[in-house]
Symmetry: C2
Subunit: 281 residues, 2 copies
Amino acid sequence: MRVLVFLDGAVADPDIPQVRVDDPGLMRGDGVFETVLVRDGLPRELGPHLDRLRRSAAMLDLPEQDVERWRRTVDEVLARWPDDREMVLKLVRTRGSEPDGEPLAFALGMDVDDKIKQARVTGIAAVTLDRGFDDGLAERAPWLLLGAKSLSYAVNMAAIREANRRGADDAIFLAADGAVLEGPTSTVVVVRDRTLYTPPPTIGILPGTSQAALFRAAQRAGWHTKVEPLRVDDLRTADALLLTSSIREITRVHTLDGERLSDARELHAELVAAYETEYRV
Amino acid sequence: MRVLVFLDGAVADPDIPQVRVDDPGLMRGDGVFETVLVRDGLPRELGPHLDRLRRSAAMLDLPEQDVERWRRTVDEVLARWPDDREMVLKLVRTRGSEPDGEPLAFALGMDVDDKIKQARVTGIAAVTLDRGFDDGLAERAPWLLLGAKSLSYAVNMAAIREANRRGADDAIFLAADGAVLEGPTSTVVVVRDRTLYTPPPTIGILPGTSQAALFRAAQRAGWHTKVEPLRVDDLRTADALLLTSSIREITRVHTLDGERLSDARELHAELVAAYETEYRV
């Protein structure tokens, strides 16, 4: 099932072409996006997602995003989707064709992939992959768009395929100096001694909306949280290694670079329960 | 004027939507492209462009590209375009929607931008920008797709906007160690003592089709050519600094990082004349 609504309010059929071939979003990956989980009719972390969409758009020199219009567009999708059916909601905004092309902006609701649903329960195997950049690059070179959620995700997709080739499900990027960065579509969270750790966005990674929600929930449940640089050894020796993202939510990594990690099923269950309290109606 | 032909032979209207919103080429910049110059009815360097399209596709794990079908598609565009009108010909191939979506593959003919035509004559100002990766990364980390011409060009576009902000027309990327890489949409060529230099593609840059054609032509005209690493000082002290690409052809950089370079108009004219002999009918 799919529901497509454009930012101007038009409801359209996602099964027929809606985009011109010369849209810079297609031709050059020149645009931004967000992926929101909708469960029980509630778009989770919509505010932080729209904040991040605004920041990404600003990093790409796109016009200021009208958050209220985006909210109305999301409502239009929700109105056409059954509450008891989980949804992946993509928000996409491209530059629009030069010189007079309309910018493309739409919300697309889709079903959640079964494989992702399963991974939430079973956990996944991950591999570490070199991302090739050093500390300080994000601040030094903003034109590299590190920390912007742009449509240029070919490298992220290639990293997941490389992980698959190595018999794993997903990847964790490392900086040139071995610092832990992020997954291609997720944030890295490490648990040790009832403290949650995640790397700081200033090293050139996307600030995670789900990671932020998890940290809030965990704090309320009595856990400590720290945002600080992590090394690859921190991943191997953790009580739990988690990848968080809107759709996968809190997914446990059971195997890293072919080595089985310590059993974190109980910790994971405890944190998922805390996380869910964020959305209890 | 624009002409659109899909790889299956269908001729379509580029002014109406032809692409589904969920195409991975749009959603994730997951696809490859080439840009070919057509002048006097002749698509320049079509063989090398199609070779590079095949290599890029392989780097992205896309299916093997049918070069003969691409050639027929290009012919269909050419048949609909007047010989006396210069054309930018874009070849685009995306992954196609999972699980059953048709891959998107098309050739789109467009007019050449006046600003580019002018820059061929007047030259341009460029700035150097940090690209943030080190020597050896391309070989070490193929999942970063360095040297693949993917649709994920948001960083390339952001670099050009940063150059504009600095009052220049274009950028030249440098590696973390200061080695010269490439322009966001061009190859760097330096001329010194009647020798042409360009950096080796193994450092993680795109092998240039126009640079290769220029080197062939220059060799025939008695110049020497060398493919070897360059430093930023080599750019500043060169007899001529050139950016080559299919559409801009051989464009002279007259100003680098705000400093006027030595007058290379005569060298440039001489090399352009040599280059044109490649395509004399």
